[in-house]
Amino acid sequence: MSVVGRKNRTGLRFALALACTLLFLFPIYWIAAISVKTPEEIFAYPLVWLPGSFNFNNYLVLFRDGDAWSVFHSLVTAGTSTVIAMVLGTFAAYSLARYKTGGNHLSLWIISQRMVPQISIAFPVFLLFVSLKLIDTYAGLIILYTAFNLPYVIWMMRGYIQDVPIELEQSAMIDGLSPFQVILKVVFPMVRAGLFATAVFTFIFAWNDFLFALILTRSEVVTYPVQVTGYFGSQSTFWGKIGAMSMLGMLPMFFVVATMQKYIVRGMSMGAVKG
């Protein structure tokens, strides 16, 4: 193919990629626009496509009224549970991968735990947490998200660990490292990309959870998805607040995706074949 031809092909692909990206971004743009529009602009007809000015009042209101705390609550619960799940889950995955603990049955059982629909166990979990005094607490949500994410972490990390050549661990053991040190010093670095990829998806799951947060919180640790639904009223829909809260809830995600992007892709391609 001629050089010009190739350039055209690349140019075409670029245009298509751009179009694709814009298409997917449009709704996000729309919500962002809502969050900075004035009330008149939100309810204007015909539609206002570009906000006239950047009216950050909605954001200010969220911070002033304390609604913005919900983002913090989400950060704490999702972040902590992710860390715990990654640590416990990776060690557990090692046990399954290298020692084949529990054989096929155990791993299948663990995976099946992820298949449970949330709505099914919401009320029993509520009752359990009532008796353990975990309702509306950080501890409660953290325990819940950890437990819910562990099967996924174990499943994914098992695959990544199995990809690591066992000779590395064996030679480390010969060098005198304890099994624990082997995991920490040899295995962890090897599966770093997989760790990141799994951690990101684990965090996302906890961050975006709605149903459990709805059932298990009242007022102290309301997370941001629940906060957003509170703005849909019978006699008032606070679209401005919905927009601003949505954007606040998206920001950490943008950050995560932007910084972790290459790890995610690399991590997924590593574990891709084994799963």
Binding site: P39, F43, N57, I135, S236
Partner: protein
């Protein structure tokens, strides 16, 4: 900060007045409550409130005021209105005692009482002599939104009623009046029947369209199901046969009502089937519709009342300030849609303190301030509210507004209330949704009747029959 200060001003004034006049007057219910509650100083009461604007009342005004007076802290937990019932039953079933004071929608009261979620209040009412001030509450609210089978479970706290709002300037336009009289033979005025409504709406749309339509309504099922309940009864419909407890919504009256609604929609702006409260409010405030039927806040907000407060700055500017008229909807018996009563949770650990707070909030003195809050969602519900000179002078049409509300509190129709009302309402909401999606009305009604009958069978025909009879025997269940 300034708006909070502004809102604390009435509290400061009230406290000042209380301090200077208390010894010389007989103790008001508010005072009694405060005095009795002081012994609970240092405790905390949790209040369950509908999320949105409603909680601003206890957060900005009554909570701090109460704490100042009694030393009891108030904590507010918010939930979207369709979550309130869920949260109350959830906590009751688990026996957590998480909430002390509840906001109960009156037609859910039987279910909540039956499920054991509410504490009977008669004992407290007697102990603290509240019966007197209860008499000051608007008749229909008082008689129908507080008791279940004779036991008092709640204090009616909100004068929710659906009024007709119309554009006075359009109705008073001489050219339009002449043309209308010529075409239809009667004067252009707020419609007394739904037939008139349709004629007026069509006329205005014809003359002033497409910028202005004759009417627009919030057809979203959650809102409109109340309007259907009202209109169905105004046209003579009965929900059930009292002997057999079979649903009779799918008779000729039901069909007529649905067809009439569709005919009305023809005169309304395109897409009205999807309108929720905000869309309707926006259309009216923007001058796009000449009539609508809705809750009391519409009357205040379209007049521009409270627009300058921070809590309401998400509202667009009203272009119809000073042009809004208030009337009872066609038929003259408006629906007392939704509403709220203050109740005490049966699993509360501070029942007496909770009751005292409720009594205090609901009392003549405090409730008057609450219903005048510009961002308030509590609508006037006491005789004294309707007559209050300060309220009546708040904006040009305020007197007329309060008169209409008062009329509504006398002739209003109760929301249907049975065992598991929510399930029946759910079926009704679904039927409305299907009507908006243009399905065949008779089919919709037949299915609705079938669903209702299925529910009645499962709940128990005899049980439901008794509850229905109890409800239907109330003077405001059906128009006379």
């Amino acid at each position: 900060m300034t708006s909070t200060l502004r809102n604390l001003l009435p509290a400061a004034v009230a406290i000042g007045v209380l301090a200077t006049t208390a010894p010389s007057l007989a103790q008001s219910a508010a005072d009694v409550a405060v005095e009795a509650a002081k012994k609970y100083a240092g405790t905390e009461l949790t209040l369950l409130y509908e999320a949105g604007l409603q909680p601003l009342d206890p957060i900005n005004l009554t909570g701090p005021m109460w704490e100042e007076l009694t030393g009891i802290k108030i904590k507010v937990v918010e939930a979207p209105v369709d979550q309130l019932f869920t949260k109350m039953i959830q906590e009751t079933k688990a026996g957590t005692g998480a909430y002390d004071i509840l906001n109960v929608i009156p037609n859910q009261m039987p279910d909540l009482a039956l499920a054991g979620a509410l504490e009977p209040l008669d004992g407290y009412i007697e102990k603290y002599g509240y019966a007197d001030e209860i008499h000051g509450i608007g008749k229909v609210y008082r008689e129908n939104q507080m008791t279940v089978e004779g036991t008092t479970y709640g204090l009616a706290d909100d004068g929710d009623v659906l009024l007709l709002y119309y554009r006075k300037d359009i109705f008073e336009d001489p050219d339009l009046q002449a043309a209308f009289k010529e075409k239809f033979g009667y004067d252009l005025a707020p419609p007394k029947t739904w037939k008139e409504f349709n004629e007026i709406s069509g006329f205005i749309t014809e003359k002033l369209g497409p910028e202005v339509h004759g009417s627009g309504m919030h057809f979203q099922p959650g809102n409109f199901q109340y309007m259907f309940q009202e209109r169905f009864r105004v046209e003579g419909g009965k929900f059930f046969d009292p002997e057999t407890m079979r649903a009779t919504v799918n008779g000729p009256v039901g069909l007529k009502v649905l067809n009439d609604i569709k005919a009305d929609i023809e005169t309304m702006p395109k897409g009205v089937e999807q309108w929720g409260f905000i869309e309707m409010l926006n259309a009216f405030m923007d001058g796009q519709i000449a009539m609508t039927e809705s809750w009391p806040p519409v009357g205040r907000w379209t007049a521009g009342y409270g627009r300058d407060t921070e809590a309401l700055n998400w509202l667009p500017e009203t272009k119809v300030g000073g042009k809004v008229g208030y009337a009872l909807p066609p038929g003259g018996t408006p629906e007392l849609a939704i509403g709220f009563s203050l109740a005490v949770s049966s699993t509360s650990k501070n029942k007496e303190a909770a009751y005292l707070f409720a009594q205090w909030m609901n009392s003549e003195e405090i409730s008057l301030q609450r219903v005048q809050l510009p961002y308030a969602m509590r609508d006037p519900f006491r005789e004294s509210h309707y007559a209050d000179p300060e309220y009546r002078s708040r904006w040009d049409g305020a007197g007329e507004y309060l008169d209409a509300l008062k009329a509504g509190s006398e002739t209003g129709l109760l929301d249907l209330s049975l065992i598991q009302t929510d399930r029946y309402e759910e079926a009704l909401r679904q039927a409305i949704g299907r009507l908006m999606a243009n399905e065949d009305p008779q089919t919709i009604l037949d299915d609705l009747a079938k669903q209702w009958d299925g529910l009645t069978d499962r709940i128990g025909v005899e049980k439901q029959k008794r509850v229905y009879a109890d409800w239907a025997s109330k003077p405001n269940a059906y128009p006379n």
